[in-house]
Amino acid sequence: MKDKILLAHGSGGKLAHELVERSFVKAFDNPLLAKLDDSAVFDFSGRLAFTTDSYVVSPIFFPGGDIGKLAVCGTVNDLAMSGAKPLYLSLSFIIEEGLPQSELSEIVVSVQKAAQEAGVEIVTGDTKVVHRGSADKLFVNTAGVGMISEGVDISGGNARPGDKVLLSGTIGDHGIAVLSQREGLSFSTQLESDCAPLWSLVAEMLSASPNIHCLRDPTRGGLATSLNELAKRSKVSIRIEEEKIPVREEVLAACEMLGFDPLYVANEGKLVAIVPDEDVDKILKAMRENRDGKDAVIIGEVRAEHPGRVVMKTCLGASRIVDMLAGDLLPRIC
């Protein structure tokens, strides 16, 4: 039984301390966490962004990542989408008893790597262990704070008619990679999740031009849902072109097989940006020079008519509405 997480690991007693000190403090080595006080204490001045998200992906390991990497990238990306440089994260585990310790260790290593890549520190955390059946292996919550530079004002309500819509790369990779591993659905694919921290991409876009109006990472609900949110918040319409949207052939094939539309499939390492027409060239250039934006393209533009609508020019030259995702088309993927 030694290699399994027991209820006692979450009790606050000896086993719990052992787990925290041997696994977490060691892996996330930083002075703020090492103090093991009830809160992490740090100095700060300027504008702060603060966000939180919970992760319940099933399975917890998938091609191209795992729940730990996802929990870091997701929160880092939420900060980045406000134009904030991510600084500190909290990390909470809710563990179902019986989870192999080796799997937890693997996830801790993955969290550490992703945090390092994203340039953030894990400065506080918590662990709870629940009875079998009360959770599905492992749930993770992260919260994060980040700093917004002077002159940066990014919000879903800032899109203006005439703006251009940029997409950083192919859509649907994460959702399909996770689904391919699902029990009862497993199909073989070379596809990997695109899960990645996007701050370095955003930082380079902002240095090309601080005038970015909106940023979104199209996670659950996919590109279609993000664009609908932006159109509604900004009271504008967004017109996109089907032909311009990059989708891998494997994703197209899997979507056809499962009856999905790639526009609604989740991403974890992509962003959509709405930027003023006069700045689009330099921002696109900066994106293409970054690893996470090398396939960036202009997919459409913002218009004044039909506020709140997203309209797509299809490959036949016709137009159709792109609505939000209705209900829960997909099982848990983030």
Partner: protein
């Protein structure tokens, strides 16, 4: 060859569209029988690019949509029997029956499993020997052979707790019923692709022969549909009516003999109730006598209670091609994909859902 992007190439589409515009002189109405085709037509805006001479109307080819309320009520009643697990394809969960939906009874504690394949349902039966597993056999000739295979496998493995509620429907008989009613005048039929993969193109011959209506079997990509429309236009303009296949990569004239044999071994035709269309002779499938111990209808005492149809819903008229979702007072107001009143708004292949998602209010 890439089987998807190759069939969405804009330059090829453009060529086909201009050819259709050049050739189409006579005003015609074509029906796409299949819900999958309806989705393609709306998703790519095919109606917009066709000339005004061509009127397109959607048919009853959505298995979820044509399932009668009384049958939905039976499925829900089965889920209320203790130690019964109901296994079903996902689309069925949200469809409202007379009083409830499988999704709602599931939230209240009924054991309802969503499966991706019939064989998953059989596996659930193997894993839960103390319970009875009822698979909802919904679908056309496309899914019936796989359900037949699951029954044969259950027999071979001696699995005694697996049952099927057979609500299967057959396509050619219902088309005959629609054409005989004379409610809708058609000049061409886009025949279903997947159904024809199983049954072949021969079973459509009677439509061309007896009713003089051109028939073309189509695939599901936008270029497939455009090619199919182009072939229908050519037949109309040349005053011909025959059955052609525009989906050669998926359909042979004789169909899939192995699948047909499986289906015929386990099932026999019976009369079936279609939503909006009523009872159509020989348009359903029931288990043959030697497989009757797998029949959920015989194995359980099902009490579905009285059947109610939703007030104001015109799904039935829409399925017959007599009305369109735009004619419905509930459409987009009381009835949306989030709060569906009728099945055509629930199913991903339903006409109302396709109208709403891809064209609603635009």
């Amino acid at each position: 060859m890439k089987f998807i992007s190759e069939f969405r190439r804009p330059e090829l589409a453009e060529g086909l569209i201009s050819q259709i515009h050049r050739e189409s002189k006579t005003p015609v109405r074509f029906m796409e029988f299949c819900g999958g085709h309806t989705v393609t037509i709306f998703r790519y805006g095919i109606r917009q690019v066709l000339p005004p001479t061509i009127d397109m109307v959607s048919g009853p080819g959505c298995p979820i949509c044509v399932t009668a309320n009384v049958d939905l009520d039976k499925a829900i009643a089965l889920s209320q029997i203790s130690d019964v697990i109901v296994a079903t394809f996902g689309d069925m969960l949200k469809v409202p029956g007379s009083r409830s939906s499988l999704q709602e009874v599931k939230a209240d504690g009924a054991d309802v499993h969503m499966v991706y394949s019939t064989m998953d349902a059989l596996r659930i039966a193997e894993d839960n020997p103390a319970k009875s597993v009822v698979f909802l056999g919904i679908g056309f000739e496309t899914t019936a052979p796989t359900i037949a295979a699951s029954i044969l496998q259950a027999g071979e493995k001696g699995i005694r707790n697996y049952y099927v509620l057979s609500l299967h429907k057959l396509c050619p008989p219902v088309l005959r019923a629609i054409l005989d009613s004379g409610e809708v005048k058609l000049h061409g039929l886009i025949c279903p692709g997947h159904v024809s993969t199983i049954i072949g193109s021969h079973p459509w011959e009677f439509i061309a022969r007896d009713y003089g209506i051109p028939c073309v079997v189509s695939g599901f990509e936008p270029l497939d549909i455009l090619q199919c429309v182009d072939m229908l236009v050519a037949q109309v303009e040349n005053n011909e009516s025959r059955v052609e296949i525009a989906y050669r990569r998926g359909v042979r004239p004789e169909g899939n003999q192995q699948a047909l044999k499986l289906m015929e071994r386990v099932f026999e035709p019976c009369s079936a109730e279609w939503r909006g269309i009523g009872e159509v002779p020989d348009s359903g499938l029931r288990l043959r006598k030697e497989y009757q111990h797998f029949d959920a209808e015989l194995a359980f005492d099902i009490e579905p209670g009285p059947t109610y149809e939703p007030v104001g819903c015109i799904c039935g008229d829409i399925l017959r091609g007599v009305k369109t979702p735009a004619d419905c007072q509930l459409f987009g107001k009381a009835c949306t994909p989030e709060h569906p009143v009728g099945p055509c708004m629930v199913s991903s292949e339903g006409s109302c859902s396709a109208y709403y998602l891809y064209g609603g209010g635009f």
